[in-house]
Symmetry: C2
Subunit: 195 residues, 2 copies
């Protein structure tokens, strides 16, 4: 159910089309919440039906049309209420750690492949997040710039601080996973080349 809050978060800053939102999900918000376009467009319609957002149909070229959405008062309220409500945690479902727990069933090669894949995956995430952190610091993230433009001067530092905080957390997560997998490779080595 967080998709709608992720969408609302983006729409708090200013009106966007489904396509704009979709692109944001490929970069900024997408770093913490992924959603494909096939989910975004129907969700926007539902949110519109629920009165959280409103669309303005804008002509685009000769025949083209696009729907530009903006948050309504109710939408802002809903978003703020969610931000102030306690977060509910879903139960653990962690394929990588599930596999690790039974790794003695894999061949040594497959086990090594799994751990290297884990490192590769988190290295890729890490690279993205580090780049995003730089974009925050250098103010080259367009959504953040737009956000700051509509934020009172006194709240700007805070806004930037939370964005940094988020990405620092994600970076620490990725580094942690990489360190864990490397430790796993060491353990594998102990059993592969025993002496």
């Amino acid at each position: 159910m967080s998709l709608r809050y992720a969408l609302l978060a983006l729409l708090e800053v200013g009106p966007l089309t489904g396509y704009d939102l979709q692109k944001q999900f490929a970069v900024s918000v997408g770093h913490v919440w992924h959603a494909p376009d096939s989910q975004i467009y129907p969700e926007l319609r539902k949110m519109e039906a629920d009165g959280l957002i409103e669309a303005e149909v804008i002509p685009w070229g000769n025949q083209g049309r696009k729907r530009q959405y903006h948050a309504t008062e109710a939408g802002v309220r809903t978003f703020v209420d969610w931000m102030n409500a306690p977060l509910s945690y879903s139960r653990v479902r962690d394929p990588a750690h599930l596999r690790a727990a039974y790794l003695e069933w894999a061949t040594p090669d497959a086990a090594r492949g799994f751990l290297r894949g884990h490192i590769r995956h988190h290295r890729e995430q890490l690279d993205q997040w580090v780049a995003e952190l730089h974009a925050i610091d250098s103010l080259t993230n367009p959504m953040l710039v737009r956000r700051l433009a509509v934020t009172a001067e006194k709240d700007r530092r805070k806004t930037v601080a939370f964005k940094r905080f988020t990405y620092e957390g994600l970076i620490a997560q990725a580094e942690n996973e990489i360190a864990w997998a490397n430790r796993g490779l060491e353990i594998l080595g102990e059993f592969d080349s025993p002496e």
Copy 2:
């Protein structure tokens, strides 16, 4: 789709009823993969239909009956194949970090509550995992003991090593989240009591 592999992992060790499996999901495997009974029983039936497991109907008391499942040859093969296949990673969907990214919308109290809740949640997880790690080291985890009983002597160290490895990883994750949330509380403090 990992539920069936989690179930197979448990059934590799020896026959269990749906109820036995369900209890394991409340403790050991449940630490990495949660599943409610309403999901376990139907999944077992599907696995039986797919020939991965077989049930033996055992009388229980005067009229009671229970179905004790064991992995078939095909079941073992399927499990081993999964263990040797590359793991596919699903896209990020992280409610806590999503919220953190827009935490300036929450009241200072709600923000503090969110971070404290994050710490509480991961502290609870941490406690469970630390206890589990002790149960591994002291060989008081019944499933592990059963597992070791059917494992060749030379593979026992390896089996225990991977279990430890898994829980060390989970513990590091939890500690990481707690450290992150504490850092968030510090940041909050800077903005709440500025001078």
